[in-house]
Every structure is written in structure tokens, then in C-alpha cells.
Symmetry: C2
Subunit: 333 residues, 2 copies
């Protein structure tokens, strides 16, 4: 295993220290249990938006903490759910009296631990609501889930709901909005090469020199099929088709297209793939109104990509465009 | 070779198409010879800032085109200099009557081709000045250079000079400022694993399972030493020491610390390394006033990192903080 680390058992804590030093204008890392919180939390009278999950998907979620997006992120160990007391600590730290919305990716451990934390907080009279995101069309049920997995759509959900909370929407309105986003977002990913989890020390899976895994999860979980490596046209079409069919997305739909690197796929390839996806969507009469291109929901250094489509309307577009200031996403402020 | 591409010979052109579609609010890609230009170029009365070089270092330079940074970028083939006519086309396209500043990384081919383009443009009465950046302390002379290589410091130079041009500095002032930045910036990089150039199809170099290359260039050129893989503490110290000694940077200096991923090193590791660099600098009494952390000067999917230090003063800090709006760097606007 070749990594720039000291000790697999302290990777996350050491990385969080660097994150805090790099972005002390935006966030603070509260230690034990580790929580990344907005530097000005709690924001009185604002719904607080909290997310989290296993580490190894950076910049999600710690790099998405800041005005217009998350109030707190709970980073678990690499590819491992955060604990209930971590989530509870986040809730206590950011609750500004208007309630707390938990954004949970649909993995069994995450759902359970966020739910436990929500109950503990509710017992202390904090108003808590939970939204589970399950945008991955690749597989129904998987290694770590009952039902579909939460993947790339999470970033879009966090941006849009974060903007709604920032403009003063109440908790019920934030929940309704989040449900609308979840209903309208779909993703699918693939990998060319596996990542290595630091405390495991070996690649998460074996792929032959001529193979790719289509429909892969963000923890290297198996997808739909192991296939011979295709060219970019073939790969993009294979990701896009099941997304379009699922919702379905049809002619005249306005969408946000998110072309995501799993980490090890460089921008040179990612923009190339993005261009293909734009063309295939234009051919269908689907209107790409907003884009996000880059490594935002990664799986350590896994080589691969995912596509996410979100159906837009005027309100979602306005919330997407609203100012945001985080380590990874920043505009308009 | 596993890559998300169609044909090695069209990778750059196809990638530029995706870049343009993703960021049509910021930039336009002029075809044949390919140049990435600000969507509102030429900006009348403003010094135009132009850079470029081989592709494969994304987001540098195309992702750095926009208000407050570059007016144009000339993307050569992967790891290959742009042609003189490409640079000349860029100059013609962005010249707003106040002169053009060329920012050139010190590689023999780049220096030659930018110089030829400058002479051609000057023959047509365009005022052109050139600044060569050579911030890499690893080696004096190398595979592709006489003298030191231009690496991570390029992004800092482009940001600061871009801000100066935006506020209305004339060409002579931009050149003087650029010289000040070049005099005060130093970098060094390392790699754990090699990238693969699409038209070559094989890794650029061989590294044993337990080896790292220290002082590596951004094209996989050999550095100072091939050594056993060290932990993060050792790696960061080994990059930082030669940088500090070279200028030298000493107690009380105010600096910008840029912790750069070469592409394949994920943010989890990069922030960890950044935290170590901050601590080592604090131990020396060097004051880190600004930071940049992320993959900005990459070498395709090469696993590795570099550190860059820039000595700051009030003016450089103000120019760093000035609004910028590009695909890769965006704040304050």
C-alpha cells in the first residue's frame, strides 16, 4: 500500500486537523467525537443541516460545511458510519432553535446511527427531521443497503437544502424540498481500478487489466456487471441510459448534470466524459441548465466516474445558484 | 492502459469540448489552433494574461481562465508544448490594447514556442512581455529544461498577476509584480506511482512497490532521489526542507502554503500532509497567512504531492484575496 499517511488508525483525525487549518475561516473541527462544524454555528433561528458518513469520499462532507450548505458533517472512519454520539454532538452544536435536518445516505449503518442520534436529540426537545437519499439506480439492495445506495445526488441535495435553510425556510419546508430533490435525482457510477482502504492495506476488489465494474458503489461495492473496458462513448452511454430510463427523464426536461470523478480519474478524462454526456442529453432533447464537474463524491483514489442527473425547476435552479462558501463549492459570496 | 477516453489522438480536443460546455459562462474554446479564452475577451484597456503548456496538468491552465486570472490558455498535447501559432492566436484574441503578458513555465519547448509567438506578435505591433517561472528547487537542469522547472508556483503567479491586471496595472507593473512573485516562490514534489500518457499507453516510469521518487517533475521526470517510501511526516519534511533552505524562508516570514495533489493522491491524504506542513512551519516561526489545498497542478493520475511556499507581503496578500472566477478557483465574486 502506497499512501501519504502516518498510521492507518489516525488518518481521519490527522486529515481533519489539516482541513481545519486550511479552512479556519469556514469551519472548526470539534474533537472526540469528531464533528466538522460551521465556524459561526449555531446560527440562531436557522434550520441546521447536518450530514456525514464514512470518510474517504472527500470533499464530501467536511468540505461542504459553510454558509449556504452544511452546518455540520460527521466523519466516520474510512468507509464506516459515524457513531450515534458523533451525530448527537453535531446536532447539539449546530441547533439554532429552528430544528435540525439530517441528510443521510442510504446505508444500513448510517441510517441506524443517524436515527438513534435523532431519537436522543428529540428526547432533549430538539426538533429533528431526517431525509434519506438513495439516488443510485445501479442496484436494488446491495452489500451495505436495503434499497438503493446514496451517492452523487447527496452533494446536490446538500447544496439545495442548504440554500433553503439559509434563506429562512422552516424545517417542514426544508423536508418537503429535500423530498422533492430525492424524488428527482438519479445516479450511476463505474470503476476502472480499485481504491485501497488504509486500515485494510489491499485494493478493495480485483479488476482484470481489461475489466471495468459498471454500477459500482462508492465503497467499491459490486455493481451491475463486470465488463470489458469500453471507450468513453460506451462508458458514458452505459451510465446515462439506466438513469434516463429510471425516473424517467424525457424530452424537454431541464436538468443539472453532475459529472463526478471517483478520485483517480483526472479532469482531462472527466471533461471528455462530460462533453459526451452533454451531447447524448442534447440528442434526447433534455436541456442541461446547470453543471457540476469534478471530484466531489470520491472513493479514495478509485479510478472511475459517476453521472448524476437532477430534474430542475425554477426554484431548484435558484437555490442551486444561491451563494455558497465551503472548501469545495464556492460561488456568489 | 485504463482510461475514460475514445482515441489517444483526440483526448485533448474532446476534453476541451467538455470544458467549454461545462463553463460556457466563463470561457470559449477557439478551435484550430485550440485556445481557451475568456468569454468576454478582449477586455479593452486591460493587460491580457496568457499562459499555457502541455495538457495533463488540469485544472491548470484552462480551468484558470476567467475574470481575475487568465485571459487565455494554450493547451498543447499531453505533456507537450503548445505551438507558436497557438500562442500567437491567443495573443491576437485577447489583446485589449494594453499589452499581453505571457506566463511561461521553464521548459525548453515552452520557452522557445512562446518566444517565437511573442516575436510574431511584436512584429504586428502588439506589446508583449514574457515572464518565465522556475520555482522547482528539486533539480538544477533536468530532462526538459535548462535551469529549474516551473511547477506549482505557476498557479499562484497566475492568480496574483491576474488580479493586478484586473485592477488596471499596466504591463510594466504586471511584469515587475510577476518578477517579485517568481523571486519569492519555491516548490518541490514527489510521487508514489506513475501516470500513463494516453498516446504512450504505459506508465511514464517504473517505481518499485516500496519506492517513491522525491523531487519529481510534473511530467514524471526524475527528481533528486529514489527512496524507500516514508510516512507522511517524512515525506512532508523532505519536501519542505529544501524549499526553506533555498530562498531561504526564515522566522517571521509571512507565506502562502500551497499543498498540491499530483492527481491520484486523494484529499484525505492531502489534508493530512497539509496539517503536517503547517505544524513544521509554525515550529520554525514562519507564519502561514494563506493556503491553497487541492489538485491544481497535476500530472494526470500520478499519485503524489508537491508543496509550494510563496513569501507574502501586504500587496501580494491583497492580490491573492482579490475576486476570481474560474472553473477551478473562485471566490469573492
Amino acid at each position: 500500500m502506497k499512501k501519504i499517511i502516518n498510521d492507518p488508525s489516525t488518518v481521519v483525525a490527522e486529515s481533519l486537523r489539516g482541513l481545519e487549518l486550511a479552512h479556519s475561516d469556514l469551519l472548526t473541527v470539534v474533537p472526540e467525537p469528531a464533528v466538522v462544524v460551521r465556524v459561526d454555528a449555531p446560527v440562531r433561528g436557522k434550520v441546521a443541516v447536518v450530514s456525514g458518513g464514512g470518510s474517504g469520499h472527500e470533499p464530501m462532507h467536511g468540505g461542504l460545511v459553510g454558509p449556504g450548505m452544511l452546518d455540520a458533517a460527521c466523519p466516520g472512519p474510512v468507509f464506516t458510519s459515524p457513531t450515534p454520539d458523533q451525530v448527537q454532538a453535531a446536532i447539539e452544536r449546530v441547533d439554532g432553535g429552528a430544528g435540525v435536518l439530517l441528510i443521510v445516505k442510504n446505508y444500513t449503518g448510517d441510517v441506524l446511527n443517524f436515527e438513534t442520534a435523532a431519537e436522543l436529540a428529540q428526547a432533549e426537545d430538539v426538533e429533528v427531521a431526517t431525509i434519506v437519499i438513495d439516488d443510485d439506480v445501479a442496484v436494488k439492495d446491495s452489500l451495505y443497503t436495503a434499497g438503493r445506495r446514496g451517492v452523487g445526488g447527496t452533494v446536490l441535495l446538500e447544496k439545495i437544502v442548504g440554500a433553503a435553510a439559509e434563506r429562512g425556510d422552516d424545517l417542514a419546508a426544508c423536508v418537503a424540498l429535500a423530498e422533492r430533490v430525492v424524488a428527482g435525482v438519479r445516479s450511476m457510477g463505474m470503476a476502472l481500478a480499485a481504491p485501497t482502504v488504509p486500515h485494510v492495506g489491499e485494493p478493495s476488489f480485483d479488476l482484470g487489466e481489461d475489466e471495468m465494474e459498471v454500477g459500482i458503489g462508492i465503497h467499491g461495492e459490486p455493481g451491475r456487471a463486470r465488463l470489458p473496458v469500453d471507450n468513453a462513448e460506451g462508458i458514458v452511454a452505459r451510465l446515462l441510459e439506466p438513469i434516463l430510463e429510471d425516473l424517467p427523464f424525457t424530452e424537454g426536461d431541464r436538468v443539472l448534470l453532475f459529472t463526478n470523478s471517483m478520485g483517480g480519474t483526472p479532469l482531462l478524462e472527466l471533461y471528455l466524459a462530460h462533453g459526451i454526456a452533454e451531447r447524448l442529453l442534447a440528442d434526447r432533447g433534455i436541456v442541461v441548465e446547470r453543471r457540476l464537474v469534478g471530484p466531489f463524491v470520491t472513493s479514495l483514489e478509485m479510478q472511475g466516474m459517476s453521472l448524476t442527473l437532477l430534474r430542475l425547476d425554477d426554484e431548484l435552479t435558484e437555490l442551486w445558484d444561491a451563494p455558497v462558501r465551503t472548501a469545495a463549492l464556492r460561488w456568489g459570496s
